[in-house]
Amino acid sequence: MNKNDDYLPKIIAFLCNWCSYAGADLAGTSRLKYPPSILPIRVMCSSRVDPLFVIKAYLNGADGVIVAGCHPGDCHYEKGNYYTRRRFALLKKIFEDLDLEQDRLMLSWISASEGPKYAKVATEFTEKIKEKGKNPAKSKIFL
């Protein structure tokens, strides 16, 4: 038996109000099953997520961080998610350059009608993080 089997990761998910949060809601009302590892934080737009939030979550020990918004072209504010994508790519690059675990960060597009996609993303990302194990930042003292 894998020692990680009873380990439930803690994943912070920044969900945009108009698409991804509604997608998560739909997954719930459709009674789709997905692991209770996701802690959603609703933001008005994915571009409201300052990469600082992601860094803070990571350093404070979140095992994974998801930023989710409307599909490109579908942003409620027309272009917010395009900015998000650039910022996220830049943040990932910095993580990569510093040899931090950039695969603990994920950017996903989930529309209001994609309840099943939300459940799939939540399940798969949780599995991936389970395999990686706990975020080592959680035990660091001098961060």
Binding site: D50, P51, L52, I55, K56, L59, N60, G61, P72, G73, K79, Y82, Y83, R85, R86, R87, F88, A89, L90, L91, K92, K93, I94, D97, L98, D99, L100, M106, L107, S108, W109, V121, P136, A137, K138, S139, K140, I141, F142, L143
Partner: protein, 369 residues
Amino acid sequence: MTKALIINKGVEQGIIEFLKYLLDSGKVKAVFTLKKINKNGAVAFSLISKSEDLDDSVPFYPLMPVNAGYLLSRFTMKEAATEPVVAVLKPCEIRAFVELIKREQGSLENLFIISSTCGGVYTHKMSADGLVEKNLTKYWDAVKKGEILDDLRPTCRSCEEFQPYNADITVDIVGKNDLDKQCTMLLNTEKGEGLAKDMKGKLAEKNLDAKKLDNFRAKREKEKKKLFDEIEPKIKGLDGLIDTFGKCISCHACGKVCPICYCTLCEFESPDSEYKPSNYETELNKRGALRVPPGTVYYQLGRLDHIAISCVGCGACEDACPADIPVSIIFKKIGESVQKMFDYIPGKNLEEELPLSTFKKEELSEVEE
């Protein structure tokens, strides 16, 4: 070929005479440049409107008290200069100013910019110890030969952007072996030509000596590679970051002097980011022990994320760091890496949009899932 004005005086004397001419002829109302405070090598940027006050100005002094781009931004943020002002800046200072203008933090209106190929500057520490003044002869000798001195700031030793962008006039300094006899000013723009018109001196058609500058750049590149290789293991993973930034005393001086770090309402200065006893309790339950105050790695990573795209590598951060953390090389290394992603050279082109304020509809699909 560019039009050039040649004055038969040493570079330092020549430029002062030129600045005096600009004031006396009324072409500009003030000069913004470095001026000596005393004889021990203390200098400060000053606005000067009387030409005799230029006597102890030192436009190309090898010290950067503050990044002047930041000072000019504060000077022109609320309104553009009302009268013509000429500023003598280092290449990285112009670049920082341009980045700030892109963020609507300043204006080039009524400003003339004189710059030079830059031989680099010394640290504040050396200036405080009176060593800059003592080293001047050695410094100018090295600049003349296009050599890199070991005691210059690391970020200067490894700077490849020593040729200014957006300068109206570029003074030829690096690798110019007759710089104590001749001051050659390249007039890059019409504004620059206008300034030089009627000034005593010889007009010629000239370019910077590309071969010499390439040689110089190659030396800087070599130094950069060395410094980057040295820093790489020190910022590897969480443990590397803790090793390097763990000794940060959270004074935030690096952010205060950083020209790009311009927000007046900084997240890290906000009372919201102070830890309350309940926050400590949460963290202690998780970790068993916690540094006080916490958040040094968070601060540096956060600052890195916010400014890396526009980091001009001026080195003001490292010069201000009381804990001797090699911030400037870290920021320069990560900065270059993310700038390359968007094919962006900060401060090069005023018309080019900041990469994070624009987008393409089809791009970066590799980060989406």
